[in-house]
């Protein structure tokens, strides 16, 4: 057979790993042809809407639904009393606690679900909500976790104050858990003996992922065949199916969960919410499909906050800047119910990655979880479990230590990095970092931005400021982060008992195209594009001929879903390994067709060739056809494979970020002049998608650092419940980002990829924040809490006497 195409051409034609393949999803999305939850419209569908509590803490004395029920078109108004016989008035949370589905005797946060109205029309439902009369008796409100731990007010009257919680003993009736990692005695000893110790307290404020599409579900119970179909905004559809089965008693094979297109998740869509449960119950009761979709205000006030960590740190070092120990204590405000989305054994997620990118021999972390009158949640907003908090903590502590040592913070980092030779590196708080080359990345970053030049410019600026020549200060924000993603090894990571593996199933069609289904679910990450690229390289069929499908539990193999940058590390690995199974069988078929022994053929881009005789080959397309039309002795017909992947370890992407900011001291307005982001996510599957993910993550980092928050007043009222006050940046607020990379593959991942979607957020937040701090450093600032919005920056300047 004649073949005048070069090997490079053949590689190019595959559109495999490493190429900037355009996102196949975009044609649909940019033309308004996506299919989101709210696009699900079924005949006879009913609509649900919640009556929510205006109070943060109150006893419910009575609920009168008569007036609401009297409206034409109102089918039902469900309260806790109606759910109790089904034992569905409470539900288990992902963190081992339980949460009210509908208020059972009292409410514990503003916006809490009190009653669920079901009506024939969305507008009627909203009108009926207004007519449900709830008689509340207000109770004392606690919004401060420190106050909660000393207050006589019992928030969770349903819990036995003396009984252990899901994570061990509780010290107080408003205490949830204490989690400790590392050796506190040894750490204290190191602190006592240290030449230099820096201490600081920082508040990582409560915020919210705020995806463009809010949460919602459509439940449809078919009473004839006993099957429940549930469409929803789910980042983990298979887990939802299992939970729905356990809660409802409907056998799992009779439940089909479908996550359609998802308009952003960022952690908001990992949890299970009362709305999902109510739509299911309402459908079971009425026998009709029931839709529930929250509005923007409901989304911000009731589903899934993130952060809310008070972090106290101590870091010790020698006089010349070698770090010797780290002590961290967190008071974690979990709100009214512990509904954190973390692997079961990690009540503070992977906060124990807080030693960061540094070789710190001794460390200790203690976390106290606390109940308050705020919304439940504690999701990982564009980060792996609590990693943003951990990285913020260490990257601020490094800056504070640099001040204490009077040392350049870039140099201090360089001096303490884990070195390339130390990998795999055993961190003091329990993780084994897979690979890294921090020094090289840091040097590249500092050189690219001309760090020395920037510092000289800054020194001049300070002189000019002092001389009255300018009212703008210049801040240089530095961050070096190490993420921990790809949860995770089944031996230590599970959610509600389900090991955190993931999966891929591939079917090759006779004409040489394919469909692959995964246990994950894209929410904008571009899985349909990148997973096809992985497969193209692994099985030698063009990515354009491979369909990727996710989100339907009736067709996709079981998986734990998409969050914590786990899709590529876990499902991506499953994809590569399933591809290799296909290839192994293809090898046998090729050998048969070429009439040689299996070992005498080898894979080459898109074909198997006879070793030493490359002109003798069978393309994967030919092999696929043969799999279906030839009787091959000892080989089953067909070409399919499935792989379930239990990762041996997490992956540890890292990066070096630099932000240059000018701050108007008089108005508190910051202006980002430059942002440089170097990411090392191991093997790069699609550089264009990586860049897009970095831009998105940095933008959400900018939001969080510079203004985005869920703030409460003393009565527990949400002050930032609309997009007027909740900062969601637009193109206008966003600077130009410079992206860069190094490549340090993961040694244990089949294709060396580490995951990237969340790195920019994790690294971005401290980088923006450090830039603000750095601008005022010369005038004595050590710590000011985020978000750095105009008035808080102004207040920093004011407190430092810069307006006098």
């Amino acid at each position: 057979m004649k073949d005048d195409v070069t090997r490079e051409d053949r590689i190019g034609a595959l559109g495999g790993m490493g190429c900037e393949r355009k996102r196949v999803e975009d044609a649909r999305f940019t033309q308004g042809q996506g299919n989101y939850l709210d696009d699900v419209k079924l005949p006879g569908m009913l609509f649900g809407d919640f009556v929510r509590s205006p109070y943060a803490h109150a006893r419910i004395k009575s609920i009168n639904t008569d007036a609401a029920m009297a409206i034409d078109g109102v089918i039902a108004v469900l309260t806790a009393e109606d759910l109790a016989p089904l034992n569905l008035h409470w539900m288990p949370t992902l963190a081992g606690d339980k949460q009210m589905v509908l208020a059972d005797g009292k409410v514990l946060f503003q916006g809490q679900e009190v009653a669920f109205v079901v009506a024939e029309d969305r507008y009627i439902a909203a009108d009926a909500v207004e007519l449900v009369e709830v008689d509340y008796e207000e109770m004392p409100v606690i919004t401060d976790p420190y106050e909660a731990l000393t207050s006589d007010v019992v928030l969770r009257e349903d819990l036995d104050p003396k009984a252990d919680g899901a994570h061990g003993p509780r010290d107080h009736h408003n205490h949830i858990f204490k989690w400790e990692v590392g050796d506190e005695t040894a750490t204290n000893q190191v602190m006592d003996d240290a030449e230099v110790v820096a201490e600081e307290t920082m508040y990582y404020h409560r915020t919210h992922p705020c995806p463009l599409e809010t949460c919602g579900s459509v439940a449809s119970m078919d009473k004839v065949n006993g099957k429940l179909t549930l469409w929803g905004t789910f980042q983990a559809p298979h887990v939802v199916r299992t939970v729905a089965s356990l809660l409802s008693g409907i056998e799992e094979h009779n439940i089909r969960v479908i996550a359609p297109d998802i308009g952003g998740g960022f952690g908001n869509k990992v949890g299970v919410y009362p709305g999902y449960v109510c739509s299911i119950v309402a459908s079971i009761v009425t026998g009709k499909p029931v839709k529930w979709v929250e509005d923007r205000m409901e989304n911000l006030m009731s589903t899934a906050f993130a952060r809310d960590y008070w972090m106290k740190g101590k870091i010790s070092a020698t006089k010349d800047g070698k770090i010797t120990g780290l002590h961290c204590h967190v008071t974690a405000d979990h709100g009214a119910f512990d509904a954190c989305a973390d692997p079961s054994k990690y009540p503070a997620g992977f906060m124990n990655i807080c030693t960061g990118s540094y070789d710190i021999p001794t460390a200790y972390l203690g976390v106290d979880g606390v109940y308050t009158n705020k919304a439940p949640g504690g999701v990982s907003y564009r980060c792996s479990f609590r990693v943003t908090e951990a990285v913020y903590f260490i990257e601020r502590m490094i800056e504070v230590l640099a001040i204490e040592l009077d040392m350049d913070p870039a140099e201090l980092r360089m001096k303490n990095f884990i070195s390339k030779e130390q990998f795999p590196y055993q961190a003091p708080l329990g993780w084994e970092y897979d690979s890294g080359d921090y020094h090289t990345a840091w040097e590249k970053a500092l050189e690219t931005v001309d760090y020395k030049g920037l510092r000289a410019e800054q020194a001049q600026r300070i002189e000019d400021f002092k001389a009255g020549k300018t009212r703008k200060l210049m801040g240089i924000g530095l961050t070096f982060f190490t993420e921990i993603v790809g949860a995770g090894p089944v031996k230590n990571c599970d959610i509600l008992g389900m090991g955190m593996f993931d999966s891929c199933e591939i079917r090759i069609h006779p004409t040489g195209s394919a469909i692959a289904r995964l246990g994950t679910i894209s929410q904008g990450q571009g899985h349909a594009t990148t997973f096809a690229q992985i497969l193209a390289t692994e099985i030698g069929l063009p990515s354009d001929s491979i369909t990727i499908e996710e989100g339907d539990t009736d067709t996709a193999p079981y998986g734990l879903g998409t969050y914590g940058s786990r899709s590529t590390p876990v499902a991506g690995a499953a994809t590569a390994l399933a591809g290799r199974k296909i290839r192994a069988k293809a090898q046998m078929i090729a050998a048969y067709l070429l009439e040689v022994h299996d070992d005498d053929v080898e894979f080459d881009v898109d074909r198997f060739v006879v070793k030493g005789a490359p002109e003798k080959f069978k393309t994967m397309k030919e092999i696929a056809y043969a799999a279906y039309n030839q009787a091959i002795p000892g080989v089953e017909p067909g070409l399919e494979a499935v792989s379930y992947y239990d990762p041996p370890n997490m992956t540890y992407p890292f990066g070096a970020y630099v932000c240059v900011m000018d701050i108007d001291v008089d108005t508190g307005v910051p202006e980002i002049r430059r942002f440089y982001a170097l990411d090392d996510c191991g093997t790069r599957i699609n550089p264009m998608i990586i860049e897009g993910q970095v831009h998105g993550g940095l933008t959400e980092a900018l939001a969080v650092a510079l203004g985005q928050e869920i703030a409460y007043d003393k009565l527990g009222n949400v002050k930032t419940g609309t997009l007027m006050d909740f900062f969601l940046p637009t193109a206008w607020e966003v600077p130009n980002y410079e992206t860069d990379y190094t490549v340090t593959p993961s040694p244990h991942h089949p294709i060396g990829a580490k995951g990237v979607g969340e790195s920019p957020h994790v690294g971005g937040v401290p980088c923006f924040s450090n830039a603000v701090h750095d601008a005022f450093k010369a005038f004595g600032l050590r710590q000011s809490h985020m978000p750095h919005d105009h008035w808080r920056i102004w207040k920093t300047a004011n407190d430092l006497g810069l307006h006098d």
């Binding site: 509005d295 008089d666 108005t667 637009t730 004011n798």
Partner: protein, 283 residues
């Protein structure tokens, strides 16, 4: 975020509008661009059983530029930005309108709605006070004119009667240099503080000044004293300081998510200084 039920009307002329207003009293409201009213209805903070859409009513939009400039109530903020004659005669309107919301809102939002709304966050009321505009109203009793400087009573409370409709605003073509300076948290946000300034310069001396502030009280604030502090001076540092002090005596900001009172006052001073300096440099 779903409004209560309402009747929707779309009359073709002012008689039709007034008839509905008279019939339903304060249960009826006119709607211009809807970009303040509809959000309030969705939040159920405004209940409007009878909603009268003004968009088909003849003669309510358009810009006439002469010694007196007249702008129809239904003229969109986008139209203010793109009218060459208006830009030449009163460039401060474009400068201010460009700082309102975002293009989508400006395609719908109208000058009339912005000034009639009575929200202290709206930018046009302060600007109209700076320009000494007159608001033209029509009601069952006929037509009536009110000065912008007398129109605002408290948040969402104006001199307009429930059955009256604003038809147009007019103001003398402004003289001298101008500036509209606004600090906000992000695109689409109302002002943390904003200042509208017009200054006339003769030789090196200021012969006329008009200063109004936005979102620093429950109404827009025309600061007569601040304006006067500049007149007769060379707008030097002392004069600017005096104007700022006078302005600070007139405003009465409240704390909200944009920040505490001390911050707002400080920023008001900074913003006014910048507006005066820019207006003076253009005078």
């Amino acid at each position: 975020m779903i409004p209560a039920a309402f009747e929707y009307y779309r009359p073709k002329d002012m008689e039709g509008v007034l008839a509905i207003l008279e019939e339903h009293g304060d249960d009826a409201r006119v709607m211009a661009g809807g970009h303040s009213l509809i959000p309030m209805m969705k939040l159920r903070m405004a209940e409007v059983p009878h909603l009268i859409d003004l968009q088909d009513v003849e003669g309510l939009s358009g810009i006439t530029v002469a010694d007196t400039i007249r702008i129809g109530a239904m003229t969109t903020q986008n139209a203010l930005i793109n009218d060459a004659a208006l830009e030449a005669a009163a460039p401060i309107l474009k400068e201010a309108a460009l700082q309102i919301a975002d293009p989508q809102v400006r395609y719908m939002g109208t000058l009339g709605g912005n000034v009639a709304n009575g929200d202290p966050g709206n930018d046009m009321p302060g600007l109209m006070q700076c320009l000494d505009a007159t608001f033209h109203l029509v009601g069952p009793e006929g037509e009536r004119d009110v000065s912008a400087r007398d129109f605002y009573e408290a948040a969402y409370m104006t001199d307009r009667e429930d059955e009256e409709v604003l038809t147009a605003v007019s103001f003398p073509a402004p003289q001298g240099g101008f500036a509209y300076e606004k600090q906000k948290r992000k695109i689409g946000d109302y002002a943390t503080a904003a200042a509208a300034v017009q200054i006339v310069k003769d030789g090196g001396t200021c012969t006329g000044a008009q200063i109004a502030m936005t979102n620093l009280s429950d109404t827009p604030i025309y600061s007569e004293e601040a304006s006067e502090a500049l007149v007769g001076t060379s707008v030097d540092d002392a004069a600017i300081k005096a104007a700022i002090d006078a302005m600070l005596g007139d405003i009465d900001p409240t704390e909200d998510n944009r920040g505490p009172i001390a911050f707002k006052k400080h920023v008001a001073g900074v913003i006014l200084r910048r507006a005066i300096e820019r207006a003076w440099s253009r005078a």
